[in-house]
């Protein structure tokens, strides 16, 4: 137990075409404050499901286990309450919001979270200044604040927009679900730097990735291997290279 994020025996299923499908089968994972952990694992192992369940997506039904976030029962909270409590999910496939201006969206989100945290809301001028600076640090084109949320954005622009949201919402715990997928090396470095800038004793992250490459720039404190809905192996940052060269076969065999 870390008193920050503790996942214990978490099981969850989804109703897919009328069939109940068990995806998480007893996840145990603890992340202490100030640490960045990575989850790697083959496709279909439940990594994205874990991130959705933590963020509060309703199509997943939690059937067993518990998640405690900063002493509170996370699973009892609405998605917006989780965000206000400091949790942030960077989506693997960010959602397009046609007709919603990106700057308005960001300000609405920031002020909703600030309201819920008992902080003063930002006026339009103060917000725009902060947002422009943050966007610039991520090498985003200035017009991306004026466009509709993620509409017509390239894959890389969408991922940067996720990191921009994370920067502005100032979470204490961020889940990055394959934020590196579809990024070229330069974009990858910019995104990783964006996350690194947030690193502090008050910020933890869970980085879901397929590739060691991201972890070169965003060096984790711990790496967990996930397969078949469970964490089957945990180790230090050196694990990434081992997985990169050997694959998951050995861990899968050990777990079987």
């Amino acid at each position: 137990m870390t008193q920050f994020l503790d996942i214990s025996g978490l099981c969850a299923r989804i109703d897919a075409d009328g069939q109940e499908k068990e995806i998480l089968r007893g996840v145990d994972l603890s992340i202490p404050p100030g640490e960045v952990h990575a989850i790697m694992g083959p496709n279909g192992s439940g990594k994205s499901t874990l991130s959705y369940v933590l963020a509060g997506r309703e199509d997943y039904e939690v059937t067993a286990g518990s998640v405690t976030f900063q002493g509170k029962d996370l699973l009892e909270m609405e998605p917006e309450e989780r965000a206000a409590a400091g949790l942030f999910l960077a989506f693997q496939s960010p959602i397009e919001l046609p007709g919603v201006n990106n700057a308005n969206f960001l300000r609405t989100a920031v002020n909703a979270v600030r309201r819920a945290r008992g902080q003063e809301e930002l006026d339009a001028v103060a917000f725009l200044k902060t947002a422009r600076e943050a966007a610039k640090a991520l090498s985003m084109a200035p017009d991306m604040l004026k466009r509709n949320v993620n509409v017509g954005f390239s894959g890389g622009e969408k991922k940067r927009n996720e990191v921009l949201q994370m920067t502005l919402l100032q979470p204490s715990f961020a889940i990055l679900d394959e934020t590196d997928s579809g990024l070229d090396v330069d974009a990858l470095r910019i995104v990783a730097e964006g996350v690194n800038r947030l690193r502090s004793p008050d910020f933890s992250a869970l980085v879901i990735t397929h590739h060691q490459r991201l972890l070169d720039y965003l060096v984790p404190d711990r790496i967990h291997v996930m397969a078949k809905g469970r964490i089957i192996h945990s180790g230090g940052p050196e694990l990434a290279k081992q997985i990169d060269s050997e694959g998951y076969t050995r861990f899968l065999a050990e777990a079987a």
Partner: protein, 424 residues
């Protein structure tokens, strides 16, 4: 032939005293047509989805010429027309269907007269076919007659209608707009009011060669009112009529547009959006006639329906034999926010030419779960997230309005009626 099931005149009871008093020969013809057909019920195909029962319930009298000026000014304030973008525009204000000079700021660069003085019925309307047009022709007392001379860019004109009667009244304004060759006008109609009334305008719009008429109607009538509007537009060679109706108010509304593309390369847009709740019924009906080759028509109508409200979309595109190379597009989209809300959509293509491009489509759905989750995962509370997505759905429709000031005004009046909770 249908058997006459009930006396057509029975449907005219709310107007009987006034109709009986008509002596003017020009109105007698309309009255004759009206007496033969009565007001349509739902057995009439064009009125299958929209009942006029609302009108049977109360006798509607003619409004008196006096009105409470303070109340009228308060209503203009409430509509947001006395501050911001709308305040600086020339405006013609009609109260209970009569021109109110004290509330108006007439435009300088258009020819202006009033039906109340000229009693000139135009030639584009069809009182023999459309009963509500016949009712208007029988009972019209006033209306604006706007002419933009050839080559003149007349800028923007606000045409405001306020229904402000103490007892249930009906008023039947008769407007006409003529944009001569190469001229331009942006006409913004705003309709509001309080209490119970019937607003039954007829508007004839004539767009000459190379002329442009942009026309936005913002309907935010009293919750207890009916607004039954019929518009007739004729567009000549390379002329453009771009119309948009935003339906927000009234217990019962119908916005019926008859647009005729009369010469090659004419273009018409018959767009709209409506946002209804409670037991509101909002009907957007159009008949677009391609009567010449190489013309273009565009139509996108979006509906947001909550409570037990009902949206009706009837869109007919008629392509005459001569109208080769017609390019037509029609789309009706509905967002249903409750289990009881309903949309009735009836697209109709009637094509007699053989070389045309016409497409149409319809979508019906609820708010998108993934979009809702995305917003909520960013800390936006559920109710506010819903408002944002509804607003966005309609904002995309409002973006079709070519005149930026008209677009801002429409968005502003929508926000007055439907404030977005919390931020923006």
């Amino acid at each position: 032939m249908n058997a006459i099931i009930k006396q057509p005149s029975a449907t005219l009871v709310p107007f009987k005293a006034r109709l009986d008093a008509i002596t003017d020969p020009a109105r007698k013809a309309a009255l004759g047509a009206l007496h033969r057909s009565g007001l349509p019920d739902r057995r009439v195909e064009a009125w299958k989805y929209t009942s006029l029962r609302f009108l049977n319930e109360t006798p509607l009298v003619a409004p008196s010429e006096e009105f409470d000026a303070e109340k009228a000014r308060a209503e203009l304030d409430r509509l947001g027309l006395t501050a911001g973008d709308g305040a600086d525009l020339p405006r013609l204000v009609f109260v209970n269907g009569r021109y109110a000079p004290d509330l108006s700021v007439p435009p300088q660069n258009v020819g202006l007269s009033f039906f109340g003085k000229t009693e000139a019925f135009g030639t584009l309307s069809s009182p023999d076919r459309d009963a509500l047009t016949a009712l208007n022709a029988a009972l019209a007392t006033d209306g604006a007659e706007i002419t933009v001379a050839a080559g003149v860019d007349a800028g923007r004109v606000l045409l405001v209608s306020l229904g402000l009667a103490d007892a249930p009244v009906s008023f039947h304004p008769r407007h006409s707009v003529t944009v001569e060759e190469g001229a331009r006008l942006s006409l913004i109609c705003v309709q509001g009011g309080q209490g119970r009334y019937l607003h039954n305008p007829v508007m004839e719009l004539s767009v000459a060669a190379n002329a442009t008429l942009n026309h936005v109607t913002i309907q935010t009538e009293s919750d207890d009112a009916a607004c039954l509007a019929t518009l007739y537009a004729q567009i000549e060679e390379r002329g453009s009529y771009d119309s948009f109706v935003l339906g927000l108010g009234a217990a019962l509304s119908r916005h019926e547009v008859h647009a005729r593309l009369n010469a090659p390369h004419a273009e018409v847009h018959v767009n709209g959006a409506q946002r209804l709740l409670g037991r509101q019924v909002g009907d957007v009906t159009s008949v677009i006639t391609h009567a010449a080759p190489d013309c273009r028509s565009r139509q996108t109508v979006r509906n947001v329906l909550d409570g037990q409200s009902r949206g009706v979309f009837q869109g007919k595109v008629l392509v005459e034999r001569i109208a080769q190379k017609t390019d037509g597009y029609q789309m009706n989209q509905a967002l249903l926010l409750s289990e009881q809300a309903e949309i009735d959509a009836k697209p109709e293509l009637e094509i007699y030419a053989d070389d045309v491009k016409c497409s149409h489509g319809a979508t019906v759905g609820a708010l998108d779960d993934e979009q809702m989750f995305y917003l909520r995962s960013r800390g936006v509370p559920e109710a506010e997230a819903r408002q944002i997505l509804i607003h966005a759905f309609l904002a995309e429709a409002l973006a079709l309005i070519p005149d930026a000031v008209a677009q801002t005004l429409a968005a502003h009046i929508m926000e007055i009626r439907f404030p977005v909770t919390g931020e923006e």
